[in-house]
Structures are given as structure tokens and as C-alpha cells.
């Protein structure tokens, strides 16, 4: 779990559509937002960008499968001879205002929905059983959750009752030209190389659902481009940055390397 409150300079974000204005409208109308999309498609970047743009603090919680409601709300810790109440990240956000971003919310335990639900309807409250408090969210509080519809394990999914409490936005991979721009912007790599990388990533994405669980993300492309830009051999960089992260099976890796050779030569 990481909680950070950051108001630094605006991170670079290249919009796919109308998501910025939609997000702004949701913010002014105090509506909670659900972001969905494959991993590395810019959900997290979008949120930091919007937080900076709206000039509100951002509280990020990366959810994991051991994350419980009390991790979000807070708990009593034992201090020197007494017990002390310690606010969780969600409580902090409700107290201070700002955007509370629950990343990969399906990963969290089911009981977390109990504390999320009252915050997402018009009550906008956070009841804390332990202390008997009921917090009312300030006007600039906004709850944002994200999830990746692609890889849910068999037993994990977002309940309809939870889904229907959010304004939803879909993220997808960028158009090739735009993705190329993003990669150049992020890493400073030359246009020719960026174009090759994007073409290759799109080839790999065709394999989603059939041979691979997930296509190569923009994030992986950026990593690979960084490796290449700092002078690492392109083919090796692709192996390390694009291929190995996608599959553990040896023959799949070697087949994917053929795709790399098809772009970079052998």
C-alpha cells in the first residue's frame, strides 16, 4: 500500500478522447469514477495528471489481495502503554479532501466494498465503527477506482452492485501514431525506433486471448525504449522489456522473438 500526496508539476498525458473533460465534470458534480482498461494503458498516469490539473492532493492505494477494510479505514495501534487510533489512507483522504485512487480494486478483499459504498452514493459518508465517528466527505473529495477487466482470476470480478455506483471510463491502447508520440515524449527516443517498437507491440497485441493473456502495454514499450535509448542492444532490450514479461513458456518466448527479429532484423 502506498499513500502519497503529491502536487508536483503536471505529468505528461496524451488524451485518448474526451476523458479529461468527463473527469472534470465528474469532479464538479462529485461523482465517483471507475477506470477500466488493460494494464499499462495509462490509468494511473491519467489520475496523477488530473489531480495536478485540478490542483487537489492525490491519495493512491494499490490494492492487493490482503487489503482489508481496516487497512483502508484505519486501526488501533498499540503505543507506549496505550492504544492509538491510526487513520487509514481512505480516512485520510476523506478528512483532507482530494482524490482517493484505489488501484486494481478487485484485488482487495470483499469487505472493502462495505466502506466504499456509502462514499459513492449521495450520502458521501465514511462511517468508522471502531471510533464511532461518521465522516462527511468535503466538497473536493473524489473517489476513483480502477480495475483491469482482462485478467481477473476465476473468482474475482467486480460485483454489479459496485460497478453501478461509478461513472465509468474505458482505457485502451493508443492509436499507433499517438503511442509513438507518447514514447518519444517519455523517453526521447528517435521517431524511427519508436515507430518500430509500436508496430511490434501492435503485432504482439494481436496475440491477446489466443496465445498470450495480455498484450504488451505502453508502459513496457516505454521501459524498452529507455533501455534502447541508453545504448542497450535493441533486440536484447526487446527480449528483456517486451517479451520475457509477457510469457514464461520457452517456446512462446522464442516465437515472440521471431516477431522481434521481424522488426529489428537478425
Amino acid at each position: 500500500m502506498s499513500t502519497d500526496t503529491q502536487t508536483i508539476e503536471m505529468p505528461f498525458y496524451s488524451p485518448q478522447g474526451n476523458e479529461e473533460s468527463l473527469f472534470e465534470h465528474a469532479y464538479t458534480n462529485q461523482l465517483p469514477v471507475l477506470l477500466k482498461g488493460p494494464t499499462g494503458s495509462g490509468k494511473t498516469r491519467f489520475i496523477s495528471h488530473m489531480a495536478a490539473k485540478l490542483n487537489v492532493p492525490l491519495h493512491t492505494v494499490s490494492c492487493h489481495d490482503d487489503l482489508t477494510a481496516s487497512d483502508l479505514v484505519g486501526r488501533y495501534l498499540i503505543g507506549d502503554g496505550q492504544t492509538v487510533w491510526n487513520d487509514g489512507p481512505l480516512t485520510c483522504a476523506v478528512r483532507d479532501g482530494g482524490i482517493c485512487y484505489l488501484d486494481e480494486v478487485v484485488e482487495a478483499r470483499k469487505d472493502t466494498t462495505v466502506v466504499i459504498h456509502p462514499l459513492t452514493d449521495d450520502r458521501r459518508i465514511l462511517p468508522i465503527d471502531r471510533t464511532g465517528e461518521t465522516l462527511h466527505a468535503p466538497d473536493n473529495f473524489m473517489l476513483v477506482v480502477s480495475y483491469n477487466p482482462g485478467y481477473q482470476s476465476m473468482m474475482k470480478g467486480l460485483k454489479p452492485s459496485t460497478r453501478q455506483r461509478f461513472i465509468s471510463m474505458s482505457f485502451n491502447y493508443l492509436k499507433p501514431s499517438q503511442e509513438q508520440e507518447v514514447i518519444e515524449q517519455e523517453t526521447g527516443i528517435d521517431a524511427h525506433m519508436a515507430k518500430k517498437l509500436v508496430a511490434m507491440a501492435n503485432a504482439l497485441r494481436q496475440l491477446k486471448d489466443h496465445d498470450l493473456e495480455e498484450g504488451a502495454s505502453t508502459r513496457l514499450l516505454v521501459y524498452t525504449a529507455r533501455l534502447i535509448n541508453s545504448g542497450f542492444d535493441p533486440v536484447e532490450a526487446c527480449l528483456a522489456g517486451l517479451i520475457e514479461p509477457l510469457s514464461d513458456e520457452e517456446d512462446v518466448v522464442s516465437a515472440l522473438m521471431e516477431v522481434v527479429y521481424a522488426s529489428f532484423g537478425k
Binding site: M155, G157, K196, L204, D211, D251, A262, G265
Partner: protein, 627 residues
């Protein structure tokens, strides 16, 4: 003696004329998996199956060695049709294995690519010549990394291409044009003509791909009177080669116009129609082998269909839905849609499902031989019934673990210096709120014998027994259905246990009574099952599909059509929030299953006889949350 000399001579000339390199051979079987991934990554269609191509006659001039040896008439090239990608069975053109492999990848690449301007794919020799260059240019443009590989291939290929060949002027200019077009693709627009067809170019697609009929498939004419007798095959019959033969479908000759006005000595060979009953099982396996061999030896097969089936008729009638008094129809004429991938439309109310239950009126008992396994499995699956319990001594938790705290404080006050132990407790519920629908395939293919004792249907029956036995104590909701179909109007849905019913003697007797029949129209069955499962009010809903092969039915529901419809049905089920998982014993399933069910949506049981024991365990693994 004469025969011996003949054999030696044949060996000698064949070896002389054979320019391939035996040591560096690369076979399709070796690399079909990575090749498939490569093909799909470069834009090839996901639904295509990779098969070994048949050798096709190329009509080019052969050199004297080939003519003497009678070889070199045929060449294996690559092409694709609606649902298959044909690649050579093996490549041993180059002395270097790496080059042979490169050629495979190159062929996959050009087949994966679709021209930017598809109309350019012209027919005829000139069309092929232009098209081949164009596709080369476009592929190299899109994947510049292939350039060096292509150059290496061309260089090596041109060196080998014309060894032992003697060309006249016309042929030479044709050869030069081809060489030029290979080295600098896109530079020549016209292929000089000559008396012969040009020598086949192994780096280019097939000039005129044969139109292939899969001999193993039934007639595509929907609803013809011919009742497709399905083939209950024999054990170990699975050595079928992954190869298609050149064939055409012709009319059945009536045998009345067979007068040959020739002097017989002028006829070197002649072919005739043989009435062979190929649709049904051959009793003698050697017979089947011989037939396979004959089919391999023939250049071309013509198949006619006389719509007469011998013997099968009787069997078929026996298999007709015996509207026995035991069968109670629960629901009939349930209309369901079907997806037509060619037209990309959903055909409304296309299939009709009849849901029935087969009550024998007896109380069934668990077969004796399954008792021990059932007991063991029940025990194993008990762990699925977890209760909410307090986990003590946790580093994090919702409550203080008072015992731990008191101990800790006690020790501290008594002057011991102790590290702070884990002082929290957490109420963890691995509450299961799950319903599972098991949908089993009862098509006639399950009539196949696996061993001398058991058919597939017996294995399925045992699996259903053990599945129910193991689950009855876990508290998970489950229901069991079976399906088979005969055309779109008659999809039989056999209810063995509904969600509401208890697993008891009656259910056992229904499982005992299952029998194979008809075909596998999987899409409709999945849609109907999804409706049933959707009505369940649980958090997790799992649709388990148990099958032994591809979706297929009498009409056009086969090959890609069936696969695409089933895939569509699975997508619909998923969008309803159902989880789907397929368990199959079809070891050829690796080709089409990912397309239908997704990478992690299926498993193949290699040894069908293990299915009964494996199914409950698989279920447990599927439904246990690892966290």
C-alpha cells in the same frame, strides 16, 4: 531379379534427382507452435489452423534427372483458405537448417499479411507474378527486420534453383525475370511467357491454390437426405495424419454411360468409380490403412455421394429420440440465436432446444467400483466448506488479539525484554457463494472406445458420478446437464440434476441412463445453459463444459462456423458475468480451444481415463481463491 534391379535403379535415380538436403530438414510438426504464434502476431487470422499442405502438380519443365526418375512433378507450397493455413510438411531446400527454418517463417509472414489493396490479388500467372512481388514488398516494408532474412533466403535460393537445368531462350528469360523479381521485388511487371509453366518459386505463395474439400467432413449441403452417420471410431485410430488431400466433389456416376471407344493398348491407365462405403467404420483396421495409402498414392480424388448408407440406417433409427414413456419434456421449442461469422450477423430464433429429463423410475446406486474414489474425493473436497474463523497472532487484523496482548504486556511488566509479537486477530471468511453448471457433451463421438473396457461416454458417466459425489457435501450449488444435437431444429438438452434438486437416487439413475447420440451444436447448448445459470443468485457462477471434440453438426455447423458460434456463445456468457471453463479430452484441441475459450479458459486431459478423478480436483482448484 527383375524386381530387385528395378528397385535398385529406382533408388539410384531418385537419389540422383533429389536435390533436397536430408540432414537439414525442418518439419512443420517441429515448429508449428512458434510458427502459429508468429503468424498470428503478424496479422494472421486467429481462427486459422495450420496444416501440412498437399503436394500439388506444378506443370513446369523438369530436368532430365527428374524425368528419368519420374520425380519432381509435385511441389509443396503454401496457401490459405477459409479455415486453414497450408504450409509444406517439411522443408529441406537448403543445406543449412537455419535457412530452412527461415523459409518457414517467411512463408508464415507472407501468408499473414493482407494486401493494402486486396483487389490486387489477381488470378492467373501474371497476376500471381505481380501479386507475389507486391506482397513481398509490403511485408518487408511492414517488418523491416525481415529484410536481411529475406535477402539471405533469396541468395541461397537462387544459387540452388537452377542447378542441373537447361533452359531454352524463352525459358531463360522467364527465369531471369523471376530471379530479378526475387532480388528486387516490385521491379518487374510482366513475366515473359514460355511453353511451360515457370518453375515453382518456393518463396512465393501458391499460384493457384487448390480448392480443397476436407474428406473427413460431411456434406456441406444442409439437410440433404443423406443421414450423416457419425463415425464411432475405434481405439487408437487417432494416428490420422494432419494432412489434406486434393479432391473434388463430383456427381455419382450412374454407370450407364461407360462405353470406352478406344483400343485398349493405347490407354496407359484409367480410373474408375468404386462404390466404397467410407462413411462407416471399417471393421478391419488394416483395410483403413490400405485405403489411406491408396488415397496418398492417387493424384487426385473425386468423391461422389450417393446418399445411400449401408447398415448405418438401422443404427441411425435406433438412435432416434426414443420418445419413450420415461422421457418427460420439461421445456420444448426454446428458440435461440446463432452466430454466422461469414455474414457477421446473429440469426435470431435459429435453433430450437428441447429440454427433457429421463426418469427411469428406479433409485440408482453409485457403481461399486467408484465407491472408494468417491469417498476419497469427498474427503479431499471437504476443505472447500470453510467457515469464518478468527485467525490469531496476525501482524495485522481488525481486532486486537487480547490473549497475545496480555501475554506480551505480562512479559514486559515482568521485566523481560521481548520483541513485539503479532498482536492482532482477523476474522477471515472464505465464504463460498457459488453455483456451478456442468454441461457434458453426449454426442455420438463419445461412443468411441478408449480401451477395451471403456468408451468415452463411460468415462463421462463416471466423471459425472464422482463430480456429484464430491460436491454434495461442500454446499456449492450445482446442476448437471448433457447435450447433443441433430441440426438446428433439434438440440437435445438432457437434464440430469437441476439446481433445486438434491443429489439422490433419482439423479443417479439418470446419470446411469445417459447414452450418446447425434452431434455437438455447442453454441446453442451453451446459450441455453447460460440462461439457466444466470438465474442463479450467487456471487460466482461457473459454467463448466465437458467435451471430447470440436463443435459440429450435420449442416454447415462445422469447422470454422461452429468454432466461431461457440466462441460467440462463450463471450455472451462472460458478458453476463458467468465464468466459463472447458475441460476436453481432445488432444488436437490446442488449435481451436484458445480461440473459443481464451488462453486460460480450458484444459486438455491427455489421458481420458483420468478424467473422473481429475474433474473434482480441477473444480476445487478453479473455485478456490488462492488468497
Amino acid at each position: 531379379m527383375e524386381e530387385h534391379v528395378g528397385q535398385v535403379w529406382d533408388k539410384l535415380v531418385t537419389r540422383l534427382s533429389d536435390k533436397s538436403f536430408k540432414d537439414s530438414v525442418v518439419t512443420l510438426a517441429q515448429i508449428s507452435k512458434p510458427l502459429g504464434i508468429f503468424f498470428r502476431a503478424l496479422g494472421g487470422d486467429n481462427a486459422l489452423r495450420i496444416v501440412e499442405s498437399t503436394a500439388t502438380q506444378h506443370f513446369a519443365k523438369r530436368n532430365w534427372k527428374h524425368r528419368v526418375a519420374g520425380t519432381g512433378k509435385y511441389v509443396e507450397l503454401s496457401w490459405q483458405d477459409e479455415d486453414t493455413l497450408h504450409l509444406p510438411k517439411q522443408i529441406n531446400v537448403f543445406p543449412d537448417t537455419a535457412l530452412n527454418k527461415d523459409l518457414y517463417y517467411w512463408l508464415a509472414a507472407i501468408n499473414a499479411h493482407t494486401l493494402e489493396n486486396p483487389s490486387a490479388k489477381a488470378r492467373g500467372l501474371q497476376g500471381w507474378f505481380v501479386y507475389s512481388q507486391k506482397i513481398t514488398v509490403e511485408v518487408l516494408e511492414r517488418f523491416p527486420g525481415l529484410q536481411s532474412r529475406y535477402e539471405r533466403l533469396v541468395k541461397a535460393y537462387l544459387q540452388l534453383r537452377n542447378i542441373d537445368e537447361h533452359f531454352n531462350e524463352q525459358e531463360q528469360s522467364q527465369e531471369d525475370a523471376i530471379a530479378e523479381a526475387l532480388t528486387k521485388p516490385g521491379c518487374i511487371e510482366q513475366l515473359p511467357t514460355s511453353q511451360y509453366a515457370p518453375k515453382p518459386v518456393l518463396l512465393w505463395p501458391h499460384p493457384n491454390p487448390p480448392e480443397v474439400i476436407d474428406l473427413s467432413s460431411r456434406s456441406k449441403q444442409p439437410d440433404s437426405d443423406a443421414e450423416g452417420e457419425s463415425e464411432p471410431s475405434k481405439p487408437e485410430q487417432n494416428k490420422k495424419e494432419n494432412k489434406r488431400r486434393n479432391a473434388e466433389r463430383v456427381d455419382m456416376p450412374d454407370g450407364k454411360d461407360g462405353l470406352i471407344l478406344h483400343r485398349f493398348e493405347s490407354i496407359f491407365g484409367f480410373s474408375e468409380f468404386l462404390n466404397i462405403n467410407r462413411s462407416t467404420e471399417d471393421d478391419d483396421e488394416a483395410d483403413q490403412d490400405k485405403a489411406d495409402q491408396n488415397a496418398d498414392d492417387m493424384d487426385f480424388l473425386s468423391v461422389a455421394r450417393d446418399n445411400k448408407t449401408k447398415g448405418g440406417k438401422v443404427k441411425f433409427d435406433l438412435d432416434l429420440p426414443a420418445e419413450s414413456i420415461d422421457e418427460v419434456v420439461l421445456e420444448s421449442d426454446v428458440l435461440l440465436p446463432e452466430w454466422d461469422y461469414k455474414k457477421q450477423i446473429m440469426q435470431k430464433d435459429f435453433c430450437s432446444v428441447i429440454n427433457y429429463v429421463h426418469n427411469t423410475g428406479e433409485e440408482g446406486k453409485l457403481p461399486e467400483n467408484l465407491r472408494r474414489t468417491a469417498k476419497r474425493l469427498r474427503h479431499q473436497l471437504e476443505s472447500l466448506t470453510t467457515k469464518r474463523i478468527w485467525h490469531r497472532h496476525q501482524s495485522e487484523g481488525s481486532e486486537l488479539d487480547l490473549d497475545a496482548y496480555i501475554n506480551y504486556m505480562g512479559e514486559r511488566f515482568s521485566g523481560h525484554k521481548v520483541e513485539q509479537p503479532d498482536l492482532y486477530q482477523q476474522l477471515r471468511s472464505t465464504e463460498r457463494d457459488l453455483s456451478c453448471l456442468l454441461l457434458a457433451d453426449f454426442s455420438l463421438s463419445t461412443d468411441t472406445w478408449l480401451s477395451n473396457e471403456a468408451r468415452i461416454i463411460d468415462v463421462i458417466r463416471d466423471s459425472l458420478f464422482l463430480f456429484s459425489e464430491s460436491l454434495q457435501n461442500t454446499g456449492d450449488q450445482f446442476s448437471i446437464y448433457g447435450f447433443s444435437s441433430r441440426n438446428r431444429g433439434h438440440i437435445r438438452f438432457n437434464t440430469l440434476k437441476t439446481f433445486e434438486e438434491k443429489y439422490n437416487g433419482i439423479v443417479r439413475s439418470r446419470i446411469q441412463a445417459i447414452k450418446p447420440g447425434f452431434y455437438t451444436r455447442m453454441g446453442a447448448a451453451i446459450r441455453y445453459a447460460a440462461q439457466k445459470l444466470e438465474a442463479q443468485d450467487t456471487q460466482q457462477r461457473l459454467l463448466l463444459i465437458l467435451t471430447d471434440g470440436k463443435p459440429n453438426d450435420l449442416d454447415r455447423y462445422e469447422g470454422r462456423y461452429g468454432v466461431e458460434d461457440t466462441r460467440r456463445a462463450i463471450h455472451e456468457a462472460k458478458s453476463k458475468g458467468l465464468q466459463t471453463f472447458c475441460i476436453t479430452i481432445d488432444d488436437q484441441g490446442g488449435e481451436y480451444l484458445p480461440h473459443i475459450f481464451g488462453t486460460n479458459g480450458f484444459t486438455i486431459i491427455r489421458k481420458p481415463e483420468h478424467l473422473p478423478q481429475k474433474l473434482p480436483i480441477l473444480y476445487a482448484n478453479l473455485t478456490t481463491n488462492p488468497s
